[in-house]
Every structure is written in C-alpha cells, then in structure tokens.
C-alpha cells in the first residue's frame, strides 16, 4: 500500500515535468506537436466553465504550448477568477459565452459546463466556426443527439472532440489491444464501478448559488451518477465490445444522502451488447472500498484495472486438440504459483530485480505481452493531459479527433437510456436493434 502511494507521488512529480511532448513521440494514440511549432502558431482557444473540472483541465493546459488560452468564461464570478488564476495567461474574461464565441481571433472553444448546457454551447461553438472540445457526457437529452449531429455535419472541417479522457490513456489503449489481440479470449463481461464515500456536494458560500454550484444534484441539469461517473465506463465497455449496447436494465435510489438532492446515490445497471457481451456498472456514494475501475473478462483471461493500475490474469482453460502431440514434460522441485495468482501488471511501475521464481515468471509474462506488441513500460502521462494534446494536434494536423462525435453520442445515449431504465424499472432498448 505504501509503495502504491509512493509510486503515485512519483508519477505526479513526473507529470509536473511532462511538458515536453517530444518525449512521447513513440507512444500510441498521442499526437505530438511538431518541433517547429512555437507559441506563434499555437491554437488560440477560449475556455467556458471554469469550475472544478474546468480548472482541472486548465491546470494541464498550462503545460501544453500547442494551445494558448486567450479567453475564459463563467457566470459565477469566484469560478471565473479561479480560472484566470489557474491558467495564468491573463485571458480576457466573459460572463456570456456568446461574446467569447463572437471573437474572430479564437480558433477553438473548450467547454466544461453543467451537462444540460452541453448541446446548446457545442452547437453555438460549431456555428461560430470554432473547433470544440466538450466535456462528457456529450449531451443531456435524447433529441439533442440529432441536433448536434446535423450541426457537426454542416461543419466538417471543425474538430469536435468529447472529453472521454480514458481514450487518451496508454493503459487503456494497451488494455484494448489485449482485447483485440485475443489475450483475454472471447470477452463476454465488463464489470465496472465507481465507489466513493463522498457527499458529492460542493461548498456553497451563499444559498442562492446552491443549484448553480451543486447542479449535479438536480435532475433539471444533471444525469446524476450515470452521466457523471457511468459515462466513463460505458465508453470503456463500448470500446471493448466495439459497438454500443442494444438494451439496458437498471435500478437505483437515493438511499443515503437524503439532503434535498434529486439524483440517486446508489445505482446499478446492466447493458447487453449484440454479440452476447454484457456490461455491469455500479456506482455508490456511501462506500469507497473498491475505488474506481473496470474488469474486462474473457474466456482466456481477465484484465483488472483499478485507478491507473492494470493487472492481467490468465484464465486456466483446458486445451482440446485432435491427434497426438509431442509430449515433453518437466520434472523438478515444486514450482511456486504465486505469480499467476497475483497476476501480471501490464504497467509494472518498477523493474523488480530477479530474486526468484516470481520475478522470473513476471519477466516471462512481460516478454510474452511484448511479443504480441502490447507491452508498454508504464503510463507515461496523465490521460487528461493526453486528451488535450490530442485535441490541439487534431486541429493543427487536420486529423480526426481521438473521441469523435460517434463515440460521444453512443456514450451519452447509453447514459440517457440507463437513467430511463432506472427511473421506469423497465428494460430499455435501442431502436432498430433487437435486445
């Protein structure tokens, strides 16, 4: 446990110095800024919504020279101030995002506002000719999918990227390569969870700002845990199954934090996919035992990802073949099996020195992963940082974003249907698909 904490701190220190994109040139999924690019041809962007999540992104943006923040916008003055302090580039500030969009010298807009505002702001951004980065979940209401799709189709040269940052995580990219290359066999179940003992409440200085600050608690603005937490893992399951669900069942309730909020604090849902796969997601706010994570389970193996640690477990499966094989078996002192029980970390954070059987096994397992071309030594940067680097690279190099409209739409739609299943108690199907 102590090691984990130390490793974590080491990683954070590493990230502080991770401003040099060139260092990551060889990594998959990361677009690297060309060396000759300086601040002069940086993407000029405005940032809308500088609350908690907005400032998280702004902190990463301070280390990305490919973009330059020239304007920020928030309707809540303390957050507006916090945003300016965080980015440190003395941006112009706005309370009305439309004024920010009117500026012709702004190429792109990044949006981290409450969910119910996403579609409107995304559409306005695209129509104002801006490249758009929109936080997840992409939109709030089912009918918004078509509205956004139409506007995006009318502006094909503008990048539209959704903030599903795990798509920019090397850990998850390796995980999905393991899925594609068959390391897990036939994947039939994804189990994911977000568990935390937290009120999910932000402090409000003045009661009149309750709904503004704690918008996540109110159904008028928020999709609750499914939108804010579930959307991440819904996308992981969609990624693993290479498609979107065909139906969902769910249940949930406000079981613990009975403080006037309207959204549930304990939700469960099961999504069915057309190939026979299923995704079970649960989220609770009264117990953090399992942290955040996902298990991808196939008939040949399991990939267990908790926070930023991924462990691969081989599933012992009988091999059946026809005809005799060349039999050659080994005899020797008992070979201990702790290595297999512990699993193999797909990102071992430090090279263990070879001190016996377990280390040897782990080394062989890594060699095996490497031979399949799916081994990376460790997560080299924070996925938030990665997704922002990717966004600017898509704009500057005129290429498809890492999370395009289709991925974001499938994700947001599944959030909406899961919430409907929970609220109605009915199995909810996707239209034109058999459940």
């Amino acid at each position: 446990m102590k090691d984990e904490i130390n490793d974590d701190l080491t990683r954070r220190n590493f990230l502080k110095t991770a401003a040099s994109a060139a260092a990551f040139a060889a990594l998959p999924g990361i677009a690297v800024t060309p060396e000759n690019s300086g601040p002069n041809d940086a993407v000029r962007y405005g940032f809308v919504g500088t609350g908690t999540q907005g400032c998280t992104l702004l902190r990463f943006l301070t280390t990305i020279p490919a973009g330059r923040c020239v304007a920020t916008c928030d309707i809540y003055p303390p957050n507006l101030k916090k945003g300016v302090e965080t980015i440190g580039s003395r941006p112009d500030t706005y309370e009305d995002y439309r004024q920010l969009l009117d500026r012709k010298d702004i190429d792109a807009v990044l949006i981290a506002t409450p969910l119910y505002l996403h579609a409107r702001m995304m559409i306005d951004g695209l129509e104002a000719g801006k490249h758009v980065f929109i936080e997840k979940s992409m939109f709030f209401k089912e009918e918004e999918a078509e509205q956004v799709r139409k506007v995006a189709a009318a502006h094909p040269k503008q990048v539209l990227q959704v903030g599903l940052h795990r798509r920019s995580s090397v850990l998850y990219q390796v995980a999905m390569e393991m899925v594609r290359k068959g390391a897990l066999g036939r994947v039939l179940l994804v189990q994911s969870r977000v568990t935390t003992h937290s009120s999910w409440r932000r402090p409000v200085a003045d009661a009149q700002y309750e709904r503004l600050i704690n918008w996540r608690m109110y159904r008028e603005y928020s999709g609750g845990l499914m939108a804010e937490m579930g959307s991440h893992f819904i996308d992981i399951a969609n990624w693993a199954f290479e498609g979107e669900p065909v139906s969902v069942i769910g249940t949930g309730g406000l079981d613990y934090w009975k403080d006037g909020r309207e959204v549930h604090d304990n939700v469960q849902s099961i999504f069915d996919y057309s190939g026979g796969g299923r995704h079970y997601f649960h989220c609770m706010l009264f117990n953090g035992h399992h942290s955040n994570g996902v298990m991808i389970m196939g008939d040949q193996g399991t990939l267990d990802i908790t926070d930023d640690r991924g462990i691969y477990f081989r599933e012992p499966v009988a091999k059946i073949s026809t005809g005799p094989a060349k039999e050659n078996w080994w005899a020797g002192a008992t070979v201990s099996k702790t290595a297999a029980q512990k699993g193999v970390r797909i990102f071992p954070q430090k090279e263990a020195k070879d001190s016996g059987f377990v280390d040897r096994e782990v080394r062989y397992a890594r060699q095996w992963l490497a031979s399949m071309g799916i081994y990376e030594p460790e997560e080299p940067y924070d996925p938030y940082w990665g997704e922002l680097v990717n966004f600017f690279a898509s704009i500057r190099e005129n290429k498809a974003p890492v999370v395009p409209l289709e991925i974001g739409t499938a994700d947001a739609m599944a959030v909406i249907k899961a919430n409907r299943a929970i609220d109605t108690g009915q199995k909810t199907s996707w239209t034109n698909k058999s459940a």
């Binding site: 059946i320 026809t322 005809g323 005799p324 078996w329 005899a331 020797g332 201990s336």
Partner: protein, 369 residues
Amino acid sequence: MRAAITRYEAAHEAMGTEFTLVAYGDDPQHLTAVGNEVFDEIDRLEDQMSIYKPKSELSVINRTAASKSVCVEPKLFELLVNAVDHSQSTAGAFDVTAGPLMKAWGFFRGKGHVPANSEITQVLRRVGHRHVHLNRAERTIRFDVEGIELDLGAIGKGYAVDRAVDILRRCGVTRALVSSGTSSLYALGAPPGARGWSISLRNPYDSEKAANVIYLLNCSLSTSGNYEKFFKQGAKTYAHILNPSTGKPVENMLAAIVLARCACDADALSTAFFVMGVERSQEYLATRRDLMALFYLPRSGGQGFRRVMLRSFCSNGIGAFFPRTRQRKSRATGAGTSVTLPAAFPAGGEQHGRTIHHYGIKKTAVAPG
C-alpha cells in the same frame, strides 16, 4: 467410423502450485468432465490437508490432538499411516512433524531467516513422529506432547497425484500424465504412438535445461530440489529442505529424484533421500523393491554437478526407461562405435564422472512395466 484421438490439457492452481493434466481419449466432452472431476478432488484434498487454512481437517488435528484423540476421515487416516510409516522407515529423514521447523526458518508464509541455535533446540522438542500415535481400530490420532504439527507438504502433492490417477483409471482413461507443479508426476500408459511419457529432469542450475530425459510408463517420479525455495542471508544460501534431526537445511545436495509405483511414496522418499544422502539412501534401497533414485550432487569447488543413480530390486521393472542404445560416432575417427548406456543415464554421463550403483538384479536398462 473410429473417432479421432482427442488430447486434453488443463492446468489448475492448488496447494501453492499448478497441477497439470494431459489425457488422451476419443471423447472431448468426457475428457473435460474427467478433468473437472480430477481438479475438484485436488481442491477437496487441499481443503482437507492444508496447514494454511485454519478450517482444514489437518489444522483441526494440529490444534486439538495434543489434548484429546481426534477421529480422522478414513482416506486421510490412511495417508497419515503412510506418512508415519515413511517417517519410521527413513528414521525421520522424512518427518511428517517437521512443520514447526519450517516455521522457525521462515518457510511458512515468511521470507526466511536463520533461527538461533537455542531456538532450533527448542523447536526440535516439538518435532518427531514418535510423538504421533495412530489408533487404527478407532481411526484416531493423538499427540503425546504439546506443539506437534503435522505438515503434509512433502507427501500431500504426491498423494493428490495418486488420487487423480485413481479417478482417471475409474473413468476409463488409459493415457494421461498428472503433474503437481513438476515435483510429483504420474505417467499413466503412454501417449499414442509413444513408448512412454518423455520427462525432462530439470538441471539444478538452469530451469530451462534438462539434466536428463527419462521416459515413464505407469510410473511416478518426484523431485526434491534446493533451487526453487530458498533465501540468502549474508553470503550463504539456505534451502527449504531441513534435516529434522539437526533442524538445519541440508547441504551438499542439489536434487534427489525418486521413481516409484505411486507418487505418494516417490514424494516422501525424494525428501527423505535428499536428507539422507547417497550412502544412507543406498542402505535403504537395499531392503526395498521397485524404486529408483537419482541424485544431483554439487562438485566440490566448482560449477557443474555429478549424478548418482541407485536402484532397488525391481521385480518387473518399474516403468522408467531412458533413450535407447545410441549409435555414437567418434568425431575424431569417424568410426561408428556402439555404446550401450547402462540404465542409460544419458550420453556423456561417464565423462562427467558419473557413479552408478546397482542393487538387486543387474540390468543395463530398466524395462517398461
């Protein structure tokens, strides 16, 4: 139409290692069901015999048999009788009560440490099969001092292999190999088209090299070696096989390999022979039947190892044999020279200073049973 030959191979974690089963038959569904049965039985045995699980029958015995007689499940009782017999016949070189010693040296859940001599003396008071009393009529066990702990670690995996073979035979499987993490194997029949199951005996210095290759047919083989479980303290390496009479790790032995009719015997005797060394094992084998032993011994003052093979009287052969007589050509002359390898400790053995002792009927090879 005759069904095609099906080969089934599965692995299963149990008893701190991985059991492997390979079986041939004509029905994949049947073989799969038999495999499930075998691994279920191995799990059941682990639940019964593990000293790592407080709920196991063996743990209950260890906790209570010093204060009262404990009634034992018939199969486990049979195994305990067998274990105590081996303890007696090897004069305690294999000792089913050596558990506290393993703990003192940190080989039980620990990382290994050298205990003080006084501690060893203390612990040795709680070691010794003479303190274990089995009442066959009542099927009960009783310890006559406090602190006795039975540990089946040096016989249980072999026993589990035997129980697996029982199931295979009962289910009509005639060609199979069962292995408990390479340390105990049983070769049932032979693979299709082969004379026996080819087994590479691990080089004690290199896990990827074979020191010998041997074929097995209806025969079991167990290995005790010092190269998988050990710890280092200072300049010295301490391996996990302890001499129950001195309370200290055995030195000057790399591996002892025993071939026997059942894996349970092979398992217990490989540990015993590791402790006893060549001379005492020789004496032991002189009074026994159907056993073979192979020792890998360190060379004094250098790398490499030497081999010593011992054999008891074998009535019908015990189903272990080595690659057949080879035609070896002298590179220097190019002339073909036929060399008959006695019991075939393979080619080149003589050059490495091999010693072969024969007991009972002298044969140049041990015929398959």
